[in-house]
């Protein structure tokens, strides 16, 4: 792309007073994938929809590619700029004060399903309510604002600092998904700056089917600027059931098969708010971690050599989970214990740490998370996974959703050539041994979907994505490289070399 077009674009942005940086941009060369690096020609920081409209107008006029990026910023490489592209940082959109400063504290506007303003103080627990938020807002800050009213965002991804716009772009899952579905299912209204051949095309979308179609668009269709996001009352201690189920075995296949059958029964008999699991080994918490001395929780961290121990954590409304104790009793290998919410949170902290967020270690990305739709196959998959992972750092963890089991695994390494290359080769072995034979691209979820969706999806899915893009982005300014077969080898993160 000729530099003259970028100069014209930059001048246009300057004339409108839109924040941007066109200096040394090497620091914007990667997203959280660390897979492929691409230096953008320009980065733009719009603060509201009006500025997004200006940016898209200018991009169409000058034929410049836009790549939206927010805060979580992808472990799959989709927020990296290809040659000649402009990054659009979306984290300020709808989250700034009049001066253009991002405000961490805000008073959320709450509406009902028809979009009418609602006084949250007077709301009833079974009201269907939505918070109207800018795309740059996050569940962390929204929940902070809603907490005094005892409400929270219905689906809260584990990265609470990821923006709602990004949650919609990836159709993220999280706490609340078992009850409310993936993030896209909880959006009731959307504002999107799409393109036309003539320039920007701001749209307001209220048809749920269309919103569902757009959920997971990965930035292909435009810049999301505002959403109505479902909120839910926070469960109080006396109406909540928190349970820890544990199973151990020397045989991962047997363990997985048993727990898979149990999960299937739980999914059909209980409506839970969160279902999480982790594999415990002797090193998962430090020897001096107070949780080891906890009279209730400590026992979960004693693991015999050669044994795999899996811990399941469920949380939900007591009456909706009445069947859980009976299901657990039916499986003699499984221990069942009800715990307080504080104890549940303590276990969740271990679960979060086990995803690889440990000091002095890095997650080596590139290995997609996957959704196992048939829990009875969990044993086979686990056996194959553990065979590959023998001796590696990092532990699989995951979620139990009603439509299947999501497994996350990323090897960990110190940042040095040998350690990272070793971890990366483990990724490849895991792909060959587990992902390729057992899963399709449609089974890959959240973090891994970004580039896999475009690179590996079957022709019918490609066709569907192209149709969606043609409808919303006829000017082809939003991430056109993701559907460009020419870009595959040189950009889409298909290799990792240090």
């Amino acid at each position: 792309m000729a530099a003259v077009e970028h100069v014209a674009l930059e001048r246009g942005l300057a004339a409108k007073g839109i924040a941007r940086d066109c200096g040394e941009l090497l620091g914007y060369a990667s997203d959280a994938s660390f897979l492929t690096l691409g230096v953008p020609n320009l980065i733009v920081f719009p603060k509201d929809e009006a500025e997004c409209v200006e940016i898209v107008d200018l991009a169409v006029k000058h034929g410049v590619t836009l790549v939206p990026r927010a805060t979580g910023s992808s472990t799959a490489g989709q927020a990296v700029a290809p040659p000649g592209a402009v990054l659009v940082d979306m984290e300020r959109v709808g989250a700034c004060d009049a001066r253009g400063h991002r405000q961490g504290l805000f008073v959320p506007s709450v509406v009902d399903a028809s979009g009418h303003a609602v006084e949250l103080k007077a709301a009833k627990a079974d009201d269907e309510l939505y918070v109207r938020v800018g795309a740059g807002r996050t569940s962390d800050e929204t929940n902070r604002a809603l907490r005094p009213f005892r409400w929270s965002v219905a689906v809260t991804p584990s990265s609470g600092y990821s923006t709602f716009g990004g949650n919609f772009a990836t159709n993220a899952r999280g706490s609340g998904t078992p009850e409310y579905g993936p993030f896209g299912e909880t959006v009731n209204r959307l504002r999107l700056v799409a393109s036309s051949k003539a320039g920007a095309r701001p749209l307001e979308i209220t048809a749920r089917t269309e919103i569902r179609r757009l959920a997971g668009h990965h930035g292909l269709c435009g810049l999301v600027t505002e959403l109505d996001v479902r909120i839910a009352p926070i469960l109080q201690a006396d109406e909540m059931l928190c349970a820890v189920l544990a199973i151990e075995s020397e045989d991962p296949e047997r363990l997985g098969a048993t727990i898979g059958r149990l999960m299937k029964r739980v999914a059909s008999s209980c409506r839970y708010y969160a279902g999480e699991f982790l594999f415990v080994d002797d090193a998962i918490v430090r020897p001096d971690d107070p949780i080891r001395a906890d009279p209730v929780l400590g026992s979960y961290f004693a693991v015999r050599p050669g044994v795999r121990k899996m811990v399941l954590l469920y949380r939900g409304r007591r009456e909706a989970m009445a069947a859980l104790p009976g299901i657990a009793t039916d499986v003699p290998e499984v221990s069942y214990r009800e715990v307080s919410y504080a104890q549940f949170q303590a276990m969740m902290r271990v679960r979060t740490a086990a995803t690889g967020k440990s000091v002095a270690r890095v997650n080596v990305p590139g290995c997609e998370d996957f959704l196992l739709r048939e829990p009875e196959r969990f044993g086979t998959v686990l056996a194959a996974m553990f065979a590959v992972l023998a001796g590696a750092e990092g532990r699989p963890v995951g979620h139990h959703y009603p439509d299947g089991i999501v497994v996350h695994y990323r090897p960990q390494a110190r940042i040095d050539r040998d350690a990272i290359e070793k971890a990366w080769s483990l990724n490849l072995r895991l792909r060959d041994a587990v992902l390729r034979p057992e899963f399709s691209v449609e089974d890959r979820v959240e973090h891994g979907l970004g580039l896999a969706l475009f690179r590996d999806s079957p022709p019918e899915r490609q066709k569907e994505l192209r149709a969606l893009k043609a409808e919303y982005d006829p000017a082809n300014v939003f991430c056109p490289h993701l559907l460009d077969p020419e870009a595959k080898g040189r950009f889409v993160g298909s290799s990792f070399r240090l």
Partner: protein
């Protein structure tokens, strides 16, 4: 504008011999998740400032690619490290960068108050210094030349000449009054030097180490068993940075809030007089995120009769910085940060308590000047002063 390029990982790998700062980052493992930037208070008011960007740029560029603005705009408040999934020590990275680049990057602009604090540190690093560090104490308060407990005053006695809107010596008098009430006659020594906080965080390691050694000499020679300070910065430096230079202390280092809590618990100190105020608490960065002391100040507030204590929304690890680190980087953007934090405090209480004389100075400075927007009435109070009021 640069020509667009795609760099496969490996083509621009980090330099073979990264400098200390880069090594700090690389070894800790930034995953480019952007959480640091999202949490950064400077980024909220200046989108072009981004710790994540600085890290990647340093990583790819070989270590010397920090701009002057990036070098000095960082508050070293540690909000980035507090939210980082891999605990990348960004403040330490910046500190090391400042050490390396200070001589080639002009610090005249960000250095505030005419370089007063820098000068104090340099003067105090000199040998054979004659000081009268007790002149502010006044009548009725007992201090000693020797004893078990040292009261480390910090630069407090020197601040009132510059920051006229704050009676900083008031904090010292309150600290002594509290100790006296508990039967402690603290040592206040004329041999005390600046703790070296600003020198270290502004890249003058040599000055800091000189100060640390000079202070350590008289402190160790005194034979005292404890050292107490009411300053969050002195506390962090003496407790956590000094041992890296002088080795382990033979005495205990306490923040005043910790001492008060202990005295109250032991029954040696009684708060008899109600203090009917509605207060909230500002966690100082050095006491909180850097030294991990969040509870002691809150326990003091809860022990004061008649006081109503309300938390702000962003507290403890997520607390917002007062906007100035080591008397650098106080500019228009600082004022917006302070406005935001004071709005938050004023929405909860009519007094904001802090356990750091410097937070008190910076917020009071803002209130003394022209706030960006009107603020409800709000007073900034030091924790030690407030506790002394409850003595009756």
């Amino acid at each position: 504008m640069t020509e667009a390029v795609v760099i496969p990982v490996g083509v621009s790998e980090p330099s073979a011999a990264p400098d200390a700062a880069l090594r700090t980052l690389a070894q800790e493992g930034c995953i480019q998740c952007n959480k640091c930037t999202f949490a950064c208070p400077v980024h909220r008011v200046d989108v072009l400032f981004s710790p994540r960007k600085v890290i990647l740029q340093a990583y790819l560029g070989g270590g010397d690619d920090v701009t002057e603005r990036d070098l000095w705009a960082c508050l070293t408040c540690g909000e980035c490290q507090a939210v980082c999934p891999t605990q990348v020590p960004y403040p330490a990275f910046i500190r090391e960068k400042r050490e390396k680049l200070r001589d080639v990057m002009d610090r005249a602009a960000p250095c505030k108050h005419g370089g007063f604090k820098d000068l104090v540190a340099e003067i105090m690093a000199k040998p054979n210094l004659m000081q009268d560090r007790r002149q502010w104490i006044g009548d009725g308060l007992k201090v000693a030349d020797t004893g078990d407990t040292i009261y480390f005053t910090g630069c407090m006695p020197y601040l009132d000449g510059i920051f006229s809107y704050c009676d900083s010596a008031e904090i010292g008098r309150a600290a002594i009054r509290i100790m006296n009430a508990a039967g402690i006659v603290p040592v206040v020594s004329n041999l005390e030097r600046c703790c070296g906080h600003d020198a270290l965080w502004n890249g003058k390691r040599e000055t800091f180490e000189t100060l640390a050694k000079r202070n350590a000499k008289w402190i160790v020679d005194s034979g005292a068993k404890r050292l107490v300070t009411a300053c969050a910065e002195c506390y962090y430096m003496l407790k956590h940075e000094y041992p890296k230079v002088i080795g382990p202390w033979p005495l205990e280092v306490l923040h005043m809030s910790e001492l008060i809590g202990e005295l109250v618990k032991d029954g040696r100190l009684t708060f008899a007089k109600p203090v009917p105020l509605l207060v909230t608490y500002q966690d100082p960065c050095r006491l909180g995120r850097h030294a991990k002391e969040y509870d002691a100040p809150r326990e003091v507030l809860q022990a004061i009769p008649g006081l109503t204590f309300v938390e702000m929304d962003r507290v403890r690890e997520n607390s917002m910085c007062c906007g100035v680190g080591a008397y650098s980087n106080c500019d228009a953007q600082t004022k917006f940060m302070q406005q935001e934090r004071l709005e938050e405090a004023a929405s909860k209480a009519d007094h904001m308590v802090t356990a750091c004389p410097h937070c008190r100075i910076h917020f009071s400075c803002y209130l003394d000047g022209k706030p960006v927007d009107p603020l409800p009435p709000l007073k900034i109070v030091d924790l030690t002063v407030l506790a002394a009021q409850a003595l009756g």
